[in-house]
Symmetry: C2
Subunit: 132 residues, 2 copies
DNA sequence: GTCCGATATTAGACTTAGTATCACCTGGTG
DNA sequence: CACCAGGTGATACTAAGTCTAATATCGGAC
């Protein structure tokens, strides 16, 4: 797991035990956890980890481009280890967030909006997960 | 302004002075105010209005289909009097939210997503307002 | 009009997400 | 060794939102 350290260094982040523990969890996760969810999980392995450090660490990771924040849930920001462009589907029953690949949807017209210099966009879809 | 009362009644909402005051503000507004912003504004006309009533009233309006909530800002839900489908543009400098007409963008592929029963969707665009 | 149950309103306590403060603790440098 | 930068942790604080319990008001039955 020492490639985590490499990843941190490559992003200009000094590796510490706490940061490594947070990174191991948050970079591998397939859900979209909030800061407090990250704290709860990582604390099981590293019980001295403080809430402030988790918030500091996650915000640092965002600054350094390791994570992105997404505003998808009421009441909390979630963190997403996928920093490339993609869309999101939100299950209206469970609140679960699913990634939707960029190529799965096509959006046209964004460049033509007058008065708006669009830097990025994504589609937010809501509905129900079926099958699977 | 008594057509506000008609609008409330038509949506099955008992008209009270507080609800009328909130409705007058929030149904006419062009911005996307948070509950506390609504409180602050409406309180100027109706100083006895309590915070709890504003929250109750706005949530009631949402239940009854007069408003929609939108999760577009960190830390707060905003209320939108436009209940028909449209997209949103967020100015990354100011945080201001702009409506983008439904017809201005075309999204294809949403119906074809396997495993997802899409009920609604919208495009969230971020960038800078230019010109006016 | 009066009474009464149902519904609204209010102030304030409470909860939760997130930030700020500050003391302490490292690890590298002169 | 002394020092300084940066990281960590406990705790205080702020802000969004909900809950509660007491009071006020509405609307219908008489």
């Amino acid at each position: 797991m020492s490639d985590i350290i490499q990843v941190l260094r490559r992003h200009g982040i000094q590796a510490t035990p706490q940061r490594i523990a947070v990174a191991e969890y948050v970079l591998a996760v397939r859900t979209h956890p909030s800061a407090d969810e990250v704290w709860e999980q990582v604390r099981r392995r590293c019980p001295t980890l403080s809430r402030a450090t988790v918030y500091n660490t996650l915000n640092l990771f965002v600054d350094k481009g390791l994570l992105k924040t997404q505003v998808l849930k009421e009441g909390t920001v979630v963190f997403d280890p996928r920093v490339d462009a993609h869309h999101h589907f939100i299950d209206v029953d469970t609140g679960k967030i699913y990634d939707v690949p960029w190529q799965a949807l096509k959006v046209s017209g964004a460049k033509a909006l007058r008065g708006f210099d669009v830097r990025e966009y994504q589609v937010i879809l809501r509905g129900r997960r079926v099958g699977k």
